[in-house]
Symmetry: C2
Subunit: 582 residues, 2 copies
């Protein structure tokens, strides 16, 4: 037996007991013939005491301990004379009577402290040491709690956790598949699932009714910051449900998680159509912790000789409360900010609604104070507010103004990290135009149910709407889903709309369309991005902080050094060879 | 809203309520102007009633319903005049007032009944229909319950569920890896994990202390019946533990599962060394629901002129209680049975210990009744018993006698499927001789701790023992694990023993040996084969019955038709090409 207690367990009630602890040496201090060792494990830190005058050999051994040595110490629990109120175990210490070094440690390449001196690359290479740091360890424990709470909620609602296969068929649609050469079937490949989408739909056809899985998914996309080639979803599907059933069930999940894991009471979950979200916030995932919705000003601003507005498809603004005092310098800086290539606006028009009721704008040449006043009124501005206005093509202007709104929200402290506000965005477009491939592609995926089934005569395909919904938390998309197609004929129509030939559709998804002919119930579902959900609820920016062994931005695991070359025998057995252009 | 209740929910207390149900048509019957429809969902079956005299149109619509149609029915709950006690809902029926066909169904290719007329291949191709059958559905639900109970037990013991990566490095050791070409790193491959072994050890180095995961693993082995290329493990690891701690924890898990999921009280979990298991049962996973242990007879039988015994390395027998009455024909059949190529014995010697105390054997020519009596005594036989004796080389004889023992246990009804007996097999060999590669390989895996650390002067490498253990249930290995090496020096020694060069060891496992230098705690763990555990506890032979979407014996999913060819663009992007010999 290596220990009787953990390093987070001992209290005054244990005083005079003989205990054995095991853990890592966090720190040693020598002080007037005494040596103090902070012993750490996942549960906490306990102070060990060695007294030179009582046991010189033992104390000498303690003095030789280095950082991160793994030791076992036996001793008697004593009340501390100077208590440490920062520490759960801070009222006691251990008078050590026996010490054993279980494993020595080299000096770690960075300090194992909450604020470490290690850079990103070093910490990734020695991830097993980075994971020892308290904040990282807490994140992983937080993720564990999130997973358990998720299951608890869903189990209580009669959901079944059902495992779906990882070695499936490659049906690239949008994102690329990772593929796995089959040794036993030369020239053929499995694919790793981008999601268990078709399998969970088949489970509905099978009558399982309510399915979930916390499951790894894979997408071979070009990596961007904070995107991982493998990621985890809370994947769910329900049969015999309307959209309303799905929304209720999964806003309930979010509410339960926030309550259980964070002790936070989520209020009402707002709802908004995709069109409104774009029109009012310029985003399909608006952060609704604060207002500052857009006001469209076309009616008020056009025809007064200001060419930029006259030529613009959309002129829209936001009202920044209490910002009328912004200096020229601040306004210039803000103008520069919207003109950065990441935002891409051509310029910024402002109107100061001064506390004294006067109005001062960057377009005073073109508009009278009375005209500016109508803008202020349209935007519900009050004296002391600042109106910020962008113009241009509708889509771009909305996107730019959306970024500006978020930035102003941040600057004004309106995006409180301790507050959580959730929003359903509904009625997404069915299709979106893929500029690269010059064709319409499914906005969600090809199994999403259109809101109308008669789209043969529709001319503006972009106007088609889908039974698709996203759940947003604080301006992040944390889940997305839809009611699905469950009839073969409708599924065929949608495949056709997406430019898939009948043969291609049959070859890729014949099994699913076949299943729809044998009694497929109406069904729908959702998938939460679990890594992101943990990060947002945990109060972090990056999903990497919540993944035990993440990959870097090149998709590499630098700790184990993967991916890596395979040997000739493996190539031979898999009937493939490498063809590197170079 | 598609339903107010499920098809398993309505009772007498619901009588006179208006309800809406949705589900599948299991069966329709017309009887004297009435039509009865059994409506099925995952929760049960409810009888719908249509009365031609009350609503002819509705009844006519009901008469058109085919098997497996998906319908929604609204009506009033009535008490049944003739109750069905076989059915939880059998006291009520629904007088239907509204009917809607949600989806029609073609006639299924096999009947959706507990005993179906569909063959294996057909059921695999239409797995989504096979999964509708009650026994298959129950198995999947059973697996769900097993998973939840596993987590519940481990969570209560402070285990953390931590996800490990699926895209790792290929380090083929024993079984082949499935590999995944990396598009972003041309010429390099990820591998899918055969198990999260090294990652869970790193988590111990990180201080997570108690880890588990119910996780998919992958092995590209030549498929045998009932082996799947992807399978699920309950994967666990603990730090600061002795072997005893691990055994206690995980026999506790098995006990908890049997109690929670089956209501079964598992008694004591027996323990046995690997050597004893082989000597007494000829198996490293003996079924101890019954005795019939081997007795070695070398001392008693040699030197009496019977060349077969005189030349044999081992002569051993089992005592089949109450089988002295076996006829000549039965004994011949048993002899044929052991001579089958799957068993491979040369012959079978029997001794009947007749109820009257006389002895009759197949070797009466060589041995006197007094001599046979000493055999019977050695085997604790009583009048009425039958002694069955095999001989030959030690290993083969044990294996053959082990098979014969299991067969006799089966024939005598001693392997009660309703009884569960668990056994720890301990002290496995560290190494085993690989005939094919003509070298010593790790019996468990190269991270297993040897029981001695001074094996430099050992000449018989097969005699080395490891801190490895298997948990067996009713003659099946359900879990295997070991205490691990946690020191770099010892790990290097073992890699060396396995014939790995220093460079190779560093290239493959440098990260792990590196981790051992930074304060690695003593640790050990175990992994349960979750598919098999479910099958055995569920009372089935095949793991496929407990996997929602299994692959066939060629590693194919015939439903989705995977694996399958990929297109030229995919080859190009992955910098590989196909080289099929033929």
């Amino acid at each position: 037996m290596y220990r009787t207690h953990t390093c987070g367990e001992l209290r005054l009630t244990h005083v005079e007991k003989v205990v054995t602890l095991s853990g890592w040496v966090q720190r040693t201090r020598q002080l007037g013939g005494m040596t103090f060792v902070d012993l750490r494990d996942r549960y906490g830190i306990t102070q060990l005491v060695f007294d030179m005058s009582l046991n010189a050999d033992l104390c000498a051994a303690a003095n030789k301990l280095g950082r991160e040595f793994v030791i076992q110490a036996t001793g008697i629990v004593r009340e501390r004379s100077s208590k440490n109120t920062q520490l759960a175990t801070g009222e006691v210490e251990i008078d050590v009577t026996g010490l054993q070094v279980l494993n020595a440690a080299k000096v770690p390449p960075f300090t194992i402290e909450p604020d470490t001196d290690g850079g990103d690359d070093l910490r990734m290479k020695y991830r097993y040491l980075d994971l020892r740091r308290t904040p990282v360890q807490q994140n992983i424990i937080f993720r564990h709690q999130m997973a358990q709470a998720t299951r608890s909620y869903l189990n209580n609602l009669n959901f079944l956790e059902i495992e779906t296969p990882f070695l499936i068929k490659s049906t690239p649609e949008g994102a690329r598949d990772f593929v796995v050469p089959s040794r036993l079937n030369a020239g053929q490949f499995y694919a790793l699932p981008q999601s268990p989408q078709t399998f969970k739909q088949l489970l509905m056809v099978s009558g399982f009714d309510r399915y979930y899985q916390i499951v790894r998914c894979f997408r071979d996309e070009d990596l961007r910051a904070d995107r991982q080639p493998e990621f985890t979803q809370i994947d769910c599907e329900m049969a015999f449900v309307t959209r309303e059933d799905v929304l209720q069930t999964f806003e309930g999940l979010l509410r339960y998680l926030l309550k259980t894991v964070k002790g936070y009471d989520l209020g009402e979950v707002a709802r908004m159509s995709y069109d409104d979200a774009m029109r009012l916030y310029g985003s399909d995932k608006p952060d609704i912790r604060f207002g500052m919705a857009f006001t469209e000003l076309n009616q008020l601003v056009k025809g007064h000789g200001f060419a930029i507005f006259d030529d613009a498809e959309l002129i829209a603004g936001i009202c920044a409360q209490g910002c009328a005092e912004y200096t020229r310098k601040q306004l210039d800086e803000l103008t520069d900010w919207v003109k950065r290539p990441q935002i891409g606006a051509k310029g910024l028009v402002y109107v100061k609604y001064n506390p004294d009721g006067t109005l001062k704008s960057s377009v005073d040449k073109f508009y009278s104070p009375e005209q500016l006043q109508t803008w202020a009124n349209a935007m519900n501005a009050k004296p002391g507010d600042l109106l910020l206005i962008l113009s241009g093509s509708t889509d771009k202007t909305r996107k730019q103004l959306g970024e500006l709104r978020l930035e102003m929200g941040k600057r004004l402290g309106l995006r409180n990290p301790a507050e959580f506000k959730a929003l359903w965005v509904l009625d997404f477009p069915l299709l979106e135009w893929d500029e690269e491939d010059q064709r319409w592609v499914a906005c969600h995926h090809p199994f999403t149910r259109p809101r109308t089934q008669n789209f043969e005569n529709i001319t503006d395909w972009g106007s088609l709407r889908a039974e698709a919904y996203d759940l947003c938390l604080n301006g992040n998309e944390i889940a997305g889903g839809s009611i699905r197609i469950h009839e073969r004929a409708l599924q065929e129509k949608v495949f056709d709309l997406l430019g898939m030939t009948k043969d291609e559709a049959q070859q890729k998804f014949g099994f699913l369309m076949g299943a729809f002919e044998y009694g497929a119930p109406p069904h729908g579902g959702i998938a939460f991005g679990f890594d992101r959900l943990c990060a947002i609820m945990g109060g972090y920016e990056s999903i990497r902080d919540f993944i035990a062994f993440p990959k870097n931005n090149s998709g590499r695991d630098t700790m184990i050094d993967a991916p890596s070359p395979i040997d000739a025998k493996q190539y031979r057995e898999l009937s493939i060879q490498s063809v590197i252009q170079g």
